[in-house]
Symmetry: C2
Subunit: 158 residues, 2 copies
């Protein structure tokens, strides 16, 4: 990334981290993306304390990333389901997994492989692409102030 002149704005990044950065939140979302729906399955699969799981699930519901729905109209039991907003965290979670698998673990240590169901081939690493789909270098990204840039951000872009 290259600044137009002199700037950064951690604002969007910081806002995402406020919602997603609490311990256990991303593993719960990953578990939901893997298909888990029931409280006890989250509990058993994650090895998380029930009270913390409950707090985190309620926060995710409050933030609109998950919703709680009765398994059927006569049941008191519920499913915890991802909303579109929750499903959209998949790119964040996959980016974190791929970075770890490439830079932290040795090839023999990789615990889980993500594959395309239709081709049974490994999902390639996420790429930063331009509008035409060409991969672009990080230093070819420039930043400009958006409509919500504050005065201090505007100043830094000058």
């Amino acid at each position: 990334m290259k600044k137009v002149s002199h700037s950064s704005d951690a604002c969007s990044l910081a806002k995402s981290m406020e919602i997603l950065g609490e311990w256990w939140t991303l593993p719960i979302l990953q578990e939901a993306l893997l298909g888990t729906k029931k409280f006890n399955d989250f509990y058993n699969n994650l090895g998380i304390a029930k009270n913390i799981l409950s707090v985190r699930l309620n926060k995710l519901i409050e933030e609109g990333l998950m919703e709680k729905k009765a398994i059927n109209p006569n049941s008191k039991r519920s499913y915890y389901l991802l909303t579109q907003k929750g499903l959209s965290t998949a790119t964040i979670i996959i980016a974190l997994i791929q970075w770890c698998d490439k830079w932290i673990l040795s090839p023999g240590e990789i615990p889980m492989i993500l594959k395309d169901r239709l081709t049974n081939k490994k999902i390639p690493n996420l790429k930063i692409q331009n509008e035409s789909g060409d991969e672009i270098n990080i230093w070819d990204i420039i930043t400009t102030p958006g409509p919500g840039a504050t005065k201090s951000i505007d100043y830094r872009f000058k």
Copy 2:
């Protein structure tokens, strides 16, 4: 994502978050991706306490995401530069920014726009693609145990 049978493994995700999840670490990396190199520029641009900035930069050096290099052979002043491992966090940071801009902020609140320097067009949102470059649906991703799957993970994949 769809499980082959019944599993999740938060391991790679958790390992990434151990390194990147501390408060200020991602904003420092974003600032470095935006071109900041000097301690005082990180300090001024981020509004972070000097002692915390120092601890975080040293941790990033220790973890191999950044390196400290003298500005020139005769200088006592240093640049903090991203390594390839640090540069590779760009997909994580961009995924977090794009998620916030799409799901948290209204269009008028977006503080910063990422553009391709060559075309001056906005960088599109990251896509999950298969080997051929086709975008795939999150539910068409399946997970299989990797070479480093532990016994408990293997069991859960059965």
